[in-house]
């Protein structure tokens, strides 16, 4: 990509826009606390015993969630990618659902379940309850990461192990060590997500570090304190990220239709495996959905009708915003991936990764602090600030998905076209893009679904009067009867599920067509 080329210009403009609109607000907000006279001194006590205990509590919660999610995710990943267990395709898709549903929806469902079965929500509205809900949400993430690593192990490595020892020893001594980077990545990512999670502990009224930041910011209007506390969390997340940074930056697990190597599949008895997979599916998907259904229709259809009425004005807005957000995210992801592919440097990738690791609430605070100026009102008071939030949160995932698809294309495909005199834009249009269509589509779908359910940043930045599904549910749930909250949540859950199913059927022929010619 020459400096004067259109590709180079598009890359530079996108990179600078991202840095200016998304990275600068974060840097500016953090630095302003340290360099504004008085604010650091005024809040030097921010690291008191209470705060440190709260941080310790958050870290313990994140550790337990990361541990159990990685354990369960590895088990499901193994069963679905290394064995011949029946209904693998069904389980692979359905077990992913919790990852695409907003955490607050699952929180409402679990609270309902405890009310329904035990008559109170004592257990679930606790430290362990938050841990349980977060584990159901993040296990699918671990399943993707470890499953991808497991299916990419060259079968000869395991087969040569079987010449020497038994299945158990091969699994422990060969298979698991080979996927160690994936296990560590899974743990680190889930730890970062859990320690940064706001909506689940907030809903259950469990005080953790992120809820404390939110309280400082929105109840006490002590912005400097909130930012100082945030900087501590950012530091932890970034330090963790850098320990595993290189592997995460390359994130091989975020790929569609990865060629991989020939995979070893084990013949197993279906009994226990099916029981485990069905059990986990019941806990993480069926149980929340059924509970919401029962609660919503307990008193007839009144509450559902009321919920539809309340949510109706939000549908077009939410879908429109998520759609626009997904388009922007896919574009940024594509440009960043293309830049890395054409050796423009990896700094764009790193920027995406760092912003991705910053907790949503903190990102939201940064955007408010930065854009709350009269001359930036056009961004601050409109949907633009929400779209900027989406782009900051999810562009990393899109860039990785698209980047990994590009990596699988041999350089020679582009070079052959280059020698024939095909322009850079036409090489992109006619060679690269058609060959990575499934990944572009996947990046779009995932960005769309994540944007549709995004709450952590949106709740901080949404302009007054904005009608968006997650905001509407979250703001109403504090004062509404439980059955109305359940009904609203059920509707959001169903809409998200319908969209996932719709996209699945849209994507199926696309991927099939693509696979038919990209076999060799």
């Amino acid at each position: 990509m020459g400096r004067g080329s259109i590709g180079y210009r598009i890359y530079t403009i996108t990179y600078l826009s991202y840095a200016l609109l998304i990275v600068l607000p974060i840097a500016w907000t953090l630095l302003s606390v340290f360099f504004t006279e008085g604010s650091l001194n005024d809040n030097l006590g921010f690291l008191d015993k209470k705060i440190l205990l709260l941080l310790g509590k958050s870290a313990l919660l994140a550790f337990l969630v990361a541990l159990f999610s990685t354990l369960l995710g590895t088990m499901t990943g193994f069963l679905l990618n290394k064995t011949n267990v029946v209904f693998r395709g069904f389980f692979k898709v359905s077990l992913l659902i919790p990852l695409f549903i907003s955490p607050y929806i699952l929180s409402v469902a679990w609270k309902d379940f405890f009310f329904l079965v035990f008559g109170n929500s004592g257990f679930i509205s606790s430290f362990f309850g938050v841990g349980l809900v977060l584990t159901t949400i993040y296990t699918p993430l671990s399943m993707i990461i470890t499953g991808s690593a497991l299916s990419n192990i060259n079968k000869q490595l395991e087969e040569s192990g079987f010449m020497i020892t038994n299945f158990r020893r091969v699994s422990l001594k060969i298979t698991l060590p080979l996927i160690k980077p994936a296990l560590i990545s899974s743990f680190v990512l889930i730890f970062i997500f859990s320690i940064s999670e706001f909506s689940v502990p907030a809903f259950f009224g469990v005080k953790v570090f992120t809820t404390e930041i939110f309280t400082q910011f929105s109840a006490f209007y002590n912005h400097s304190m909130a930012i100082l506390q945030s900087s501590l969390l950012i530091l932890i997340c970034i330090l963790l990220l850098f320990t595993e940074g290189k592997y995460l930056a390359e994130a091989p697990f975020l790929s569609v239709g990865s060629k991989g190597t020939s995979n070893k599949t084990y013949n197993i008895k279906n009994g226990f495996s099916l029981l485990f997979l069905s059990g986990w599916l019941s806990i993480s998907v069926a149980l929340p959905f059924i509970t919401l259904f029962i609660q919503s229709f307990k008193g007839g259809t009144d509450k559902i009708i009321q919920a539809v009425g309340l949510l109706k004005p939000t549908f077009a807005n939410s879908i429109g915003l998520a759609f626009t957000g997904a388009l922007i995210i896919t574009f940024i992801g594509f440009v960043a991936a293309y830049g890395t592919r054409t050796k423009k440097g990896t700094s764009f990738d790193w920027l995406l990764l760092v912003v991705f690791a910053i907790p949503s609430t903190i990102f939201g605070i940064s955007l408010i602090k930065f854009y709350n100026h009269p001359f930036l009102d056009v961004i601050y008071s409109g949907y633009a600030i929400i779209l900027i939030g989406y782009a900051g949160k999810f562009s990393f995932i899109a860039a990785r998905l698209i980047g990994n698809a590009m990596k699988q294309l041999p350089d020679s495909l582009g070079e052959a076209a280059q020698i024939e005199g095909i322009s850079e834009i036409n090489r992109l249009r006619k060679i690269t893009i058609p060959l990575i269509i499934p990944s572009l589509f996947a990046a779009f779908i995932i960005s769309f679904i994540f944007s549709l359910g995004e709450l952590g940043t949106t709740i901080m930045v949404y302009p007054p009067g904005t009608e968006i599904m997650p905001i509407k549910v979250f703001t109403i749930m504090a004062n509404a009867p439980q059955s109305l909250t359940s009904s609203m949540t059920l509707i959001v859950f169903s809409v998200t599920l319908l969209i996932i199913i719709g996209f699945y059927f849209l994507a199926k022929p696309l991927v099939k067509d693509h696979n038919s010619y990209v076999q060799n």
């Binding site: 070079e415 060959l435 010619y517 060799n520």
Partner: protein
């Protein structure tokens, strides 16, 4: 890494770059094509400097070269016809269809025109890759171990095709291989390389009779 390498390739002849893995033969090919830039020194094609001291002066598509990649680089989402026609259409050539079918005819590929690369045999893929390059009428055809993945029988068949190429198409051919038998079968001139340096240049007979220690050692295996 190439070291102080001076190499002249004769027009309308088939020159083989022969050497073991990592000796720099593919790099030379990519330098000629303009896919790599020489840090120092210059590359001249038909008395015109095309690359010099870290700069590409003539971009790959204006060098009038064709390139057969080791993995062939057939575009998997295009049919055989489209793979061959793509370059012509992009260059705005007339009579694309006629030219492509002439080429398909020459290589006996008419019946494969609507097939995708994955539906072809190894030999057919090889011929499509050659046809795709030749249809643009290059003066120089660069081939990077194009037969590496073929069985012996097929190799001989394709080698016959390659041998006749410079006669039929008035071409200068540069063929990279690590297999001296392949080189002996087709080359007008052979350049033996080792660790980025030229060990010996000569005709097949001259190479066979060479007393250069490396050449003798290399030919033993």
């Amino acid at each position: 890494m190439l070291h102080k390498l001076t190499l002249a390739i004769e027009a309308n002849k088939l020159t083989c770059l022969l050497g073991s893995s990592g000796c720099g033969k593919t790099t030379i090919l990519r330098l000629i094509a303009g896919l790599e830039v020489p840090q120092r020194g210059q590359i001249e094609i038909a008395n015109k400097i095309v690359s010099e001291n870290g700069k590409i002066l003539v971009p790959p598509h204006l060098r009038n070269t064709g390139f057969i990649f080791q993995d062939l680089a057939l575009w998997p989402h295009f049919t055989v016809y489209k793979n061959i026609a793509f370059g012509l259409s992009e260059r705005g050539e007339e009579k694309v269809k006629e030219t492509v079918f002439d080429m398909l005819d020459f290589f006996g590929l008419q019946e494969q025109a609507e097939k995708y690369p994955h539906q072809l045999s190894g030999g057919q893929k090889q011929l499509v890759a050659i046809a795709r390059s030749l249809v643009l009428k290059p003066e120089i055809l660069l081939m990077d171990e194009p037969l590496a993945n073929l069985d012996v029988k097929l190799k001989h068949k394709i080698l016959e095709h390659i041998k006749n190429l410079n006669k039929n198409f008035d071409l200068t051919l540069v063929y990279v291989t690590h297999d001296h038998k392949e080189a002996f079968a087709i080359a007008d001139k052979i350049v033996v390389l080792s660790e980025g340096k030229i060990e010996k240049t000569g005709t097949v007979e001259q190479i066979k009779k060479s007393e250069n220690a490396y050449v003798s050692y290399f030919l033993e295996y």
